[in-house]
C-alpha cells in the first residue's frame, strides 16, 4: 500500500509524468483531467496494467490539484473542482498575498489527499460495503442538502445566490429527461438532445467571461510578488488542524458516493467551515479557512472515489469510469474480487495515489513562485491564449462545434451575471446538482411508488435532511448577524 509504486524504477517516473501533466491540464481552463485521462487511455495499450493505472491515477491527482493555480491567481478555475477555491483564493491573491494563497491551497490539497489515502488504504472494504446501504433517498437528501448550502457561497446576498443557483438548474433542464427518457426544451435542435455539457458551461462562465471583460486597473499588478516563505509555519497548520481534518473527511465521504463530484465535496466542506467558524463574515474576502476547506476537500474526493472502485468495482466519478475501462483493456477484472485476485494491482493503485500526492506537493511548491508570475502576464497576452484553449477544449469534448457555441453563449451569460452582481459559483453548483438530483428523485419515487415519505423515515436520509436544516439555519443566522455591521462584498 505504500511502496509498491517504487518497486519498479519506471513507475515513479510515470507518477512524476502523470502528476505534472495532470497539474498542467488542471490549471489550463478548457482542458480537464477527464479529457486528459480518456485521451491517454488508448496510449496505455502497450504498457502493462500496473504501469497504466499508475500513470492514470497520478494524472487524476494532478488534475484535481492544478485547478487551484488558475482559480487563485486569475479566478478562472481550470476544473469544476476548484470553483469554490475562487471564492477566497482570488480575493487573497488580489490583496497581494498570492504566495500565501497558493501555499495554503497546495498544503491543504496535500493533507486532504493524505487523509483520503489513509481511508483508502485502511478501510476501503468496510467503507465501500457500508456505502451501498445508501440508496436513492439518501442521495436525494444529500443533493437537497448541497442545494441548501449554496447560501453559504452566495456572496453578498442569499437572494442573488439562490437566483444564480436556480438559473443554473434551469440551464441543466434541456436534454433528455431522466424520468421519461424523452427530450425536453431542445426547441427542435437535435444537438441539444444531450443538453449542455458541464465543461463548456464552466469555462464559459469563468474563463471566457474574463476574456470578454476589459482589463481593469489593478487586475494583475498586486498579485505579482510572492512574499515570504511558501512553507507556512507548523504552528499555523496546527491552528487549522480541525478544519483540515473535517474537510478531508467530508471530501473523502462525498467522494465515495458514486456520481457526486469534487465540486460538491468542496462546497459542503466550505459551508461547514463557514458555519462553524468564529468569523464567518470573513469567508469570501480571502480567508485562510475558506481556501483550506475547499482545497483539502476536493483533493480528498479523489481518494474517496477510488474506494468503491477498488473495493466493489463501482466507479465513484467520471474519471473512475475511465479507469474502469483501463482495467478491462488490461485484462484485469474490477469488482469485489479484485482484492483477492489482483492484490498487487490494488496495492499499486493505492500506493501510486500516495506518491502522486507527494509529487504534487513537491512540484507545486517548487514551481509556485514561477507559477505566480502568471498573474503578471498582461491581459492582452493572456486572453488570446485562454480563448484559444477554451475553444479547443470545448471542441475536443465531443468533437463538435455545438459545445463551442454553448461555451461562447455562457461566456456572455457570465458577463451579464457579473454586471448584475450575481455570483457565478452557485450557478455552477445548481447546474451540476440538477441532473443528479432529478435522476435520484426519479429512482427514489419509482422505487417507493410515488411516495416522498421515505425521505423522512429512512434514518440516513433523515440525518442528511436534519444536517442540512441545521447548517442552513446557521448560515442564515450568521448572515443576519453580519449584515448590519458591514457589507461583505466578495464576488
Amino acid at each position: 500500500m505504500v511502496f509498491e509504486a517504487l518497486s519498479q524504477p519506471g513507475l515513479l517516473a510515470l507518477v512524476l509524468l502523470g502528476t505534472a501533466l495532470g497539474i498542467v491540464v488542471g490549471a489550463v481552463p478548457g482542458l480537464t483531467g477527464a479529457m486528459l485521462i480518456s485521451l491517454t487511455l488508448p496510449l496505455t495499450f502497450s504498457m502493462d496494467g500496473q504501469q497504466a493505472l499508475t500513470l492514470l491515477v497520478a494524472m487524476y491527482v494532478g488534475s484535481v490539484s492544478g485547478g487551484l493555480i488558475t482559480a487563485t491567481l486569475l479566478r478562472m478555475p481550470g476544473t469544476p473542482a476548484s470553483v469554490i477555491t475562487t471564492l477566497d483564493g482570488y480575493p487573497m491573491a488580489q490583496s497581494g498575498r498570492a504566495g500565501r494563497a497558493l501555499a495554503l491551497g497546495i498544503g491543504a490539497s496535500f493533507v486532504g489527499g493524505i487523509i483520503s489515502w489513509a481511508a483508502l488504504a485502511l478501510l476501503a472494504k468496510p467503507i465501500a460495503e457500508f456505502s451501498t446501504l445508501l440508496g436513492p433517498f439518501e442521495f436525494l437528501a444529500l443533493v437537497l442538502m448541497a442545494l441548501m448550502l449554496v447560501v453559504g457561497v452566495s456572496g453578498e446576498s442569499p437572494a442573488r445566490g439562490g437566483l444564480s443557483c436556480l438559473l443554473g438548474i434551469l440551464c441543466a433542464l434541456p436534454g433528455t429527461a431522466p424520468g421519461s427518457g424523452s427530450v425536453r426544451l431542445t426547441f427542435g435542435f437535435s444537438a441539444m438532445d444531450d443538453g449542455f455539457k458541464l465543461l463548456p458551461v464552466l469555462i464559459g462562465l469563468f474563463a471566457l467571461c474574463r476574456v470578454f471583460s476589459p482589463a481593469t486597473s489593478g487586475d494583475s499588478l498586486p498579485a505579482a510578488n510572492v512574499e515570504g516563505s511558501l512553507l507556512l509555519k507548523w504552528r499555523e497548520w496546527k491552528g487549522h488542524a480541525a478544519n483540515l481534518l473535517r474537510s478531508g473527511a467530508i471530501g473523502t465521504g462525498v467522494g465515495i458516493l458514486p456520481g457526486i463530484g469534487a465540486n460538491i465535496g468542496s462546497l459542503i466542506a466550505y459551508s461547514t467551515a463557514r458555519a462553524t467558524s468564529k468569523h464567518p463574515e470573513k469567508f469570501g474576502t480571502g480567508c485562510d479557512e475558506g481556501i483550506i476547506a475547499s482545497e483539502s476537500a476536493n483533493n480528498a474526493t479523489v481518494g474517496g472515489a477510488l474506494v468503491p472502485l477498488v473495493a466493489l468495482g463501482i466507479p465513484g466519478s467520471v474519471i473512475d469510469a475511465i479507469l474502469l475501462g483501463a482495467f478491462v483493456i488490461h485484462g484485469l477484472q474490477p469488482g469485489p474480487m479484485l482484492f483477492e485476485n489482483d492484490p498487487r494491482i490494488v496495492a499499486t493503485i493505492i500506493s501510486s495515489y500516495l506518491w502522486a500526492n507527494v509529487t504534487m506537493l513537491v512540484i507545486m511548491l517548487l514551481s509556485a513562485r514561477w507559477i505566480a508570475r502568471l498573474a503578471r502576464v498582461p491581459h492582452y497576452a493572456l486572453v488570446p491564449v485562454v480563448a484559444a484553449f477554451c475553444v479547443l477544449g470545448s471542441f475536443a469534448l465531443a468533437n463538435r462545434f455545438f459545445d463551442v457555441w454553448v461555451m461562447i453563449g455562457f461566456g456572455v451569460v457570465g458577463c451579464l451575471l457579473e454586471r448584475w452582481r450575481i455570483p457565478a459559483a452557485p450557478f455552477v453548483i445548481g447546474f451540476v446538482l440538477a441532473p443528479i438530483g432529478e435522476e435520484t428523485m426519479v429512482t427514489a419515487l419509482m422505487s417507493s411508488g410515488g411516495s416522498w415519505w421515505p425521505l423522512l423515515t429512512r434514518p440516513g436520509s433523515l440525518g442528511f435532511v436534519a444536517l442540512a436544516t441545521i447548517l442552513f439555519y446557521w448560515s442564515l443566522r450568521q448572515r443576519c448577524a453580519t449584515v448590519p455591521t458591514g457589507s461583505p462584498d466578495s464576488t
Partner: protein, 465 residues
C-alpha cells in the same frame, strides 16, 4: 509505438506553452527560424489533408477511416472498438488506420446522428450495439437501423438476470411466480429505454400476468450498488458486468441467450425455463445509408479477418463474448428478428413523477423579481462605472471569437491557419498596441498552434477541423 516517449514530448511541449504565457516570447532569430519551420510544417499538413481524395472504389481506403463510438472512452463499446482497431493495425488488414472518435451523449444518439448525416463514402462509420434499436423504440430518435447500411455484426454476449445472493428466489420461475402473486412489489432495476428496460418488459409479457415495479437506477455499476444495498430486488447485467460483480453478493437466475453460456454452465437460459426471452448484446458496424457495396464488402472483409485473429479471440474470451460474425444476408435476417423483438414491446412510462420544469421556472421568476425590486431600491448607492466602454470591448472580443469559430465550422478554414491568425488579432482587440508585442503574440500563436495541432491530431487522434 512508444507511448511513454510520445508523452514525454507532449509534456515538454505543454511546459513550453506555459513558458510563453509567463515570458511572452523568445527574442532572437533562432526563434523565428523555428516558427517558420513550424509554419511550413502546418501548411504542408494542411495541403496534404486537403488534397486527399474523398471517394474511392477500387482503391478504398485512401485515408484514415473514422469510427464513431457514441459513448465515452473506457466503456464497453469503446474498449471493444479499440481491440478491433489494434487487430486491424497490427495485422495490416487495411492499408489505412481506423481512428476511433468518441462522441458521447443522449444514449448514443448524438454520435449515431452524426454518422447518419455523414457522406456515404465509407470514411465515417458507426459502432453501435442494440442501442440503435432501443433508442428508436424508446422514442428518443425517429430513426433506427433502416437509416444505415449495416456492415457486420461482431461479438455477442447476452444479459444475465440477477438477484441478491440471499434472495428467496431460487430460479427464474420463483421470481416470476412472486411477480405474479404480488404484482408491483418486486423492484426491477434498469436504465430507462435501454435493453435492460426492454428485458424486464419482455419477461413480464412472457410471464403472463407478472408485473414488476420498474426503477430507473441507471448504469451497470449503479444497479450493482443498489442491488447489493437492497434498494432493488432484481436487475439484468451484461455478462462481463456479472462476472466482475460475482462474489459481491449477487446471484444469476437466468441467462437471456439462445442457450446456456459455457462460463455460466449452472445458470439456465430463460428459454429452458419456459420464458421466450432472448436479449443478445451484439456490436454492430454501420455506414451511412447508400454507401457503395464494394466499400461495405471491403470493410466487412477486414473486420472478419480481424475477428479471427488470436489477439481478438483472446480478448473476447476474457470478457466471455462469443466470437460471432455476421454479414450480408445473415446480418439482414438477424437485424430483422431483433427489430421484431423490440417492436413488440410497449414501453410503459412511469406517470407518477413530478415535472420539475414549471416549478423551476416559477421559482426562478419569483426570485428574479425579488432581486430586481431590491436592486432598484439600492440603485442610487452604486456608482455607475464606465459601462459603455466595457460593452464595446465585450462586443468586439465576442465578434472576433465568433468569426474564428465560424471560420472553422462553416468556412472550413483549417484549425492551424485560423488559430495562427486568431491569436494576434485577438491580442490587438484586447489592447496590444506596439508592433513588437503583436509580433511576439504571432510567435506565441504559431508555437501554440503547432504544439496543440501535433498533440491533438497525432498523439491523441482528435479530429481537428
Amino acid at each position: 509505438m512508444a507511448p511513454s516517449s510520445r508523452e514525454v514530448g507532449a509534456f515538454s511541449s505543454g511546459m513550453r506553452i506555459r513558458g510563453h504565457l509567463t515570458r511572452n516570447a523568445y527574442p532572437g532569430s533562432q526563434f523565428f527560424c523555428v516558427t517558420i519551420a513550424f509554419c511550413l510544417l502546418i501548411a504542408a499538413t494542411a495541403c496534404r489533408d486537403a488534397g486527399a481524395p474523398t471517394t474511392g472504389n477500387g482503391g478504398f481506403p485512401r485515408k484514415p477511416i473514422k469510427v464513431i463510438v457514441p459513448f465515452g472512452a473506457g466503456g464497453d463499446s469503446d474498449s471493444f472498438a479499440r481491440i478491433l482497431q489494434k487487430a486491424l493495425r497490427d495485422h495490416e488488414l487495411l492499408p489505412q488506420p481506423l481512428v476511433i472518435l468518441n462522441v458521447p451523449g443522449a444514449g448514443g444518439t448524438v454520435g449515431s446522428r452524426r454518422v447518419r448525416d455523414a457522406s456515404p463514402d465509407g470514411y465515417t462509420l458507426l459502432n453501435l450495439h442494440e442501442g440503435i434499436l432501443s433508442s428508436k423504440y424508446a422514442g428518443r430518435v425517429p430513426y433506427g437501423p433502416e437509416a444505415f447500411s449495416p456492415i457486420a455484426a461482431t461479438g455477442r454476449s447476452s444479459l444475465v438476470i440477477c438477484v441478491r445472493e440471499d434472495a428467496p428466489y431460487h430460479d427464474l420461475g420463483d421470481l416470476m411466480k412472486a411477480a405474479t402473486e404480488r404484482p408491483d412489489s418486486i423492484l426491477f432495476g434498469m436504465a430507462q429505454g435501454t435493453p435492460t428496460h426492454f428485458a424486464g418488459l419482455r419477461l413480464e409479457s412472457a410471464g403472463g400476468s407478472a408485473k414488476f415495479r420498474f426503477v430507473a437506477s441507471g448504469g451497470g455499476a449503479r444497479r450493482f450498488n443498489d442491488l447489493a444495498g437492497g434498494h432493488i430486488d432484481v436487475t439484468p447485467f451484461s455478462l462481463a458486468e456479472y462476472i466482475s460483480f460475482k462474489g459481491g453478493g449477487v446471484r444469476a437466475v437466468a441467462y437471456l441467450g439462445e442457450e446456456r453460456h459455457p462460463s455460466l454452465a449452472k445458470t439456465p437460459s430463460a428459454r429452458e425455463m419456459g420464458y421466450e426471452v432472448v436479449m443478445p448484446h451484439v456490436q454492430y458496424w454501420w455506414a451511412p445509408k447508400s454507401t457503395p457495396d464494394a466499400v461495405l464488402q471491403r470493410l466487412a472483409d477486414a473486420l472478419e479477418a480481424a475477428m479471427s485473429t488470436d489477439y481478438v479471440r483472446a480478448r473476447l474470451a476474457e470478457s466471455r463474448t462469443e466470437p460471432l460474425f455476421l454479414r450480408g444476408a445473415e446480418l439482414e435476417a438477424h437485424l430483422a428478428t431483433r427489430e421484431g423483438e423490440f417492436q413488440g414491446v410497449a414501453l410503459v412510462r412511469y406517470e407518477g413523477l413530478p415535472d420539475p420544469v414549471p416549478w423551476i421556472v416559477v421559482l426562478t421568476a419569483v426570485l428574479a423579481l425579488v432581486v430586481v425590486v431590491r436592486s432598484i431600491k439600492v440603485r442610487r448607492r452604486i456608482p455607475e462605472t464606465g459601462a459603455g466602454g466595457a460593452w464595446l470591448y465585450g462586443a468586439r472580443t465576442l465578434a472576433v471569437l465568433a468569426v474564428y469559430v465560424f471560420a472553422m465550422q462553416v468556412a472550413g478554414t483549417p484549425y492551424s491557419v485560423a488559430t495562427v491568425v486568431f491569436i494576434p488579432l485577438f491580442g490587438i482587440v484586447s489592447g496590444a498596441r506596439s508592433p513588437l508585442t503583436i509580433a511576439r503574440l504571432t510567435g506565441v500563436g504559431i508555437v501554440l498552434t503547432a504544439v496543440c495541432f501535433v498533440i491533438f491530431t497525432k498523439v491523441l487522434v482528435i479530429d481537428l477541423p
